[in-house]
Amino acid sequence: MRGIFTPITKIRRQVFSEVAKFAFEHDIEGDDFGYFYESAYRIIPGEEPLYRDSVFKERAIIRERIRMAMGLPMRPTGTHQPLTEGMQDTADGKKRLDLPLVNVIPFACEKCPTDRIQVSDNCRKCLAHPCTAVCPVKAVSIGKNAAVIDQDKCIKCGRCITACPYHAILRFGRPCAEACGADAIDSDELGRAVINQEKCVACGLCIVTCPFAAISDKSEIFQVITAIRRGKRVAAIIAPSFVGQFGPLATPGKIVSGIRKLGLSHVIEVGWGADYGSMQEADEFIVHVPHDKKFLGTSCCPSWAMFARNVQPETSDCIALSHTPMVAAAKKVKELSPGTLVVFIGPCVAKKLEALEDEVRPYVDFVITYEELMGMFSAKEIELSDMEEDTLGTLASRDGRGYAVAGGVAEALVNSIKRRQPGREVPFMKADNLRDCHKMLRLAKAGKADGYLLEGMACPGGCVGGPGTLSLIPRAGSAVKAFAASSPYLSADDNPML
């Protein structure tokens, strides 16, 4: 439900604030997590249900959300387990977050029917009834009051939908499955949605799409705040899409100030890491494409990169090898200030998964989203509009900052390649959802993208359309572009900090 604030968003954010508040205020040496037994009553007060058929079920769902916001696994529904189990290990820093990252809360799922074509009340049982004529498998017949579709025969081609003059025939699908470009939504034995973790690339779009708020990822809010409160030095690296995410009065400088007020030592632009990545990928393109790599796929979106390797292993060597901007920026922090912990702040759920990979884990200690960060500001009562203007610890070029909007990565790379080889033509294709990414990969496999640069992104509009964002996509896109234009450097090659 993008762009419309619904109870789905509200519940998610209330849980983040609840966990952040606890993390900031509880006795750090203590072991009392009893606060969380009250949480469900604060979020769902009173005796009447607010959203569903039962107030008890609503609170039960909140409890599992609280656990996941603490980075912990859901509890089994059929056996007893205390709400607070495992919380002490997290507080002691023994745990980050438990996989799987994205989960359907089974009893919150309303078992939406899977893909089916059905006739609605709009049907007039008309004389022409073109729906029957166009059906290739004789699945549509005219019943007593309306057209009837035999679900056993229907092959879901959708021709009747187009033919009906009254728009009476509809495709009914699971919103989660429609949002999932990796086809990772299956059904369990009770007909509830379940995520096929083999296929899931953690783009997180099902989380913000499910109209029953049945899907959630896990969070490291508590872990970050605990590290700060234990006196660890924690630096923030913030993704280029951060501009405009925290309200119209929160300028980039005030956001930096607010983050530092939370107790973080530095705020570094991941756009700088993007500049680093542009240089590497430009070199990789020049050296390898098209001689030993038919094309070059960008590597910055972890969902796309994982998806491309999963669905088409035969072209996986054509996905760029360079580190993602997140890793490049985190490495730099660790190099300049050994021992400092690094938290990546971004729009992205998939980065949480990337950060747990063996090669990445040493550099990125925590990942949180803008939504989670806003929950932290709210818990700590930090008013961003009251903050002084502060400056980012590094500067990124216009092109590096532009990575956040679909098309921006390709533009940055084309600019860097042309700097190295003036006059070289760099044809490119781009896609900003996984279904289109899949089409692009198939074209590439068929040899229709030889010598091309392929920009893949899992989220519509690019990173500004990520599931962890607060701003509407077009508004965020313009804010990012304006901020990019304010950089003194045009492209990565101009950035003296590299």
């Binding site: 954010r13 929160a250 607060l470």
Partner: protein, 90 residues
């Protein structure tokens, strides 16, 4: 007909609870200008926190022509604006 001034709290708590979405919803109102006139004369101003949230009012807080709407959402704010516009016409 005068301008309708809508102030939307852009404080931290209100932003977390969806005030940016309310701003965008108001901005989309002129799209239905062919059905309801007066929608082009709405001025939306994001305002800093006025501390009502610390006095037990729940955010987001929106002020339509000075009238305070606590726990605002798209639905209540759009209805309040249209009511003001219609009242002005009478």
């Amino acid at each position: 007909m005068g301008k309708i001034v809508v102030e939307v709290c852009a404080g931290t708590h209100c932003t977390l609870m969806g005030s940016m979405d309310i701003i965008d919803a108001i901005a989309s109102l002129p799209e239905i200008g062919h059905i309801e006139d007066g929608l082009n004369d709405i001025e939306v101003i994001p305002v800093p926190c006025r501390n009502h949230c610390k006095e037990n009012m729940v955010g987001p807080i929106v002020y339509v022509e000075g009238e305070i709407i606590p726990q605002a959402d798209q639905e209540t704010v759009l209805a309040a604006i249209i009511n003001k516009i219609r009242a002005q016409k009478v």
